[in-house]
Amino acid sequence: MFDHGQPSYAEVNKDILSVMLETGPRYWMLLGTTMSVAVIFFFMPWFYQLIVGVGAAGMSRNAYWGTYLSNFIFWIGLSHSGTLLSAILHITNSPWRKSVYRSAEAMTLFSLMTAALFVMVHLGRVWFVHWSFPIPNQMGLWPNFRSPLMFDVMAITTYLTASSIFIYMGSVPDFAAVRDASTGTRRRLYTIFSFGWRGTAREWHTLGWAYTFFAVFVIPLAVSVHSIVSWDFALSIVPGLHHTIFAPYFVCGAIYSGTAGIVTVMYCLRKFLNFERYIGQVHLDNLGKLLLALSLIWSYINMLELFSSWYGGSSFELEALKFKLTGFYAPLYWEMILFCAFVPLLMFFRKFRWSWNKMLLISILINIGMLTERFIIVATSQPRKFLPNAFGFYFPSWIEISITIGSFAIFATMFLIFIKWVPAISIYEVKETLKPLRRDA
């Protein structure tokens, strides 16, 4: 588990808390950069779009859904590994989870928030977005619970709530550790955050039970969230979207890109926060095997999707299929196949699974592939619907591209803020994996 010798309990506290309590100029520079990128690339174009109208983006009658929606799916997908993986590994009692899961769950939370932002950016009249929530109003008008978009609203708010509670409850003992290690305002703040946690046997016992229940609730929830997102597409009758395979396809793709995202985040934590001692070869190796398995499933489902379109033989489906495989976006499609189906096969070799740099590259390529996968779903099916007269072409405008870039900066900003507010690695659970403090030890 530990590559560089086993740390003592006190060292664990010191190592992990020092990341929070000691901040150098490099951090502030990085935070400043990501924040400015977020403002310049995301919020300023968005503001412009709010004033002008959604027409500022490249969407038209050919594709009413554009990059905003494909990015929404991408970010939702990225959110799918953290909490889900953490919950599954928690109830299956896998010790290698313990130093990875906190950041993975944070990734879930922040990518989910970024995804929610994309819904806002997508909407024509975002200032009325509260109409899609079940809020009592004087007109007695409620949202349409028969709509797949309403499923989405319910699923995503539930997921956001559940995963925030999940990460928060897992951090309570660590908030207590921060409280004990700090002074002044921060101490008062963390006294509140930690609920006055003392670590009594009763508290641990209750937390353990509650946490297991959270995990049990979160697993089916995460699966349902992405299948519901897929139904936004699959419940339409648009050729290329109207596939029964979409729910498992999206769920699998989500976990796939999420796991790749975890590898990327782990690399950064290890490299920049000096967590080499806690994030080791075993984590990388296990994540690599998981990624490999997911990539095989993903490739299989992808093949099935093409097969069922072709085998169905409907002329509309065939047209959409032809556009996807040989149309303008064909290079993007084949790039996706290369990055998500073939490149990950390298992980069959231990040489790749054990090398941080190679795994970083593979994980980034996978996520580029997944980003394009979502784009292709949106951009190749809508312009080829039913009436040839309405066949068209969709290309994102500079605003959409800029907002896409900005969203990564938003995610990075939130993550940078997170590592200063919450211990990025679970202190108490790392301690659990250490040898217990025994006289004979």
């Binding site: 003592s8 309990y9 006190a10 506290n13 079940p134 007695g140 409620w142 949202p143 349409n144 619970f145 028969r146 709509s147 797949p148 309403m150 499923f151 319910m154 699923a155 708010t157 539930t158 709530t161 559940a162 509670i165 409850m169 003992p173 207590a176 550790a177 004990d180 290690a181 509140i192 609920f195 006055g196 946690w197 003392r198 670590g199 009594t200 046997a201 009763r202 508290e203 641990w204 016992h205 209750t206 937390l207 353990g208 039970w209 509650a210 229940f213 959270f214 609730f217 979160v218 929830l221 349902s224 519901i228 108490y428 659970e429 301690k431 659990e432 217990p436 403090l437 025994r438 006289r439």
Partner: protein, 168 residues
């Protein structure tokens, strides 16, 4: 008056806890930096009442979810796409999500109720208990009882013993 004894080793700590428990001290807290199944066993903590909250939450959520979807559809009847007003399959999805939402929220509530957190008053605590020390706290003992507790803790090999005045 509370007596706190700190231990460097798990087995000493557990021995002290067991001894105190068997000597009839019923208000003891066992502070540890990591969850210890043995410590929970000493206190006789079995199944937690949290699970009742989870179950209740899930059931209430399921009912509330279906009621929300079906009820609001009836408040303002707006037919769409030739579907029924109360359309069972999509409403089951809403039910599913609400089951989980309420289940999670009630579990959270259950955690707070059962663990007695957030704590509204200061309780005997040593920061070392969250780093690498195991702490036994005996509360509500006075006079001879307190002396007996202290003796047991000392005998088990405590590093330090603290006396804390509890604010009532």
């Amino acid at each position: 008056m509370a007596i706190m004894g700190t231990f460097a080793f798990e087995e000493d700590f557990l021995a002290a806890a067991e001894k105190l428990q068997s000597s009839g001290f019923d208000n003891i807290s066992l502070l540890s930096p990591v969850p210890l199944a043995e410590a929970q066993k000493v206190l006789g903590l079995g199944k937690s009442a949290v699970r009742r909250f989870s179950l209740a939450g899930a059931i209430i959520g399921a009912l509330a979810g279906f009621a929300l979807a079906a009820g609001t559809a009836l408040v303002f009847v707006l037919p769409t796409s030739g579907r029924a007003i109360i359309t069972i399959p999509p409403f089951l999805i809403i039910t599913y999500e609400m089951t989980i939402l309420f289940g999670v929220l009630f579990t959270l509530l259950g955690f707070h109720v059962v663990s007695d957190l957030p704590a509204w008053r200061d309780r005997p605590y040593l920061p070392a208990a969250n780093i690498d020390r195991f702490v036994v706290v005996v509360e509500g003992a006075a006079g001879e009882q307190a002396a007996r507790a202290e003796a047991i803790i000392r005998q088990a090999g405590a590093e330090e013993i603290h006396h804390v005045e509890e604010d009532q």
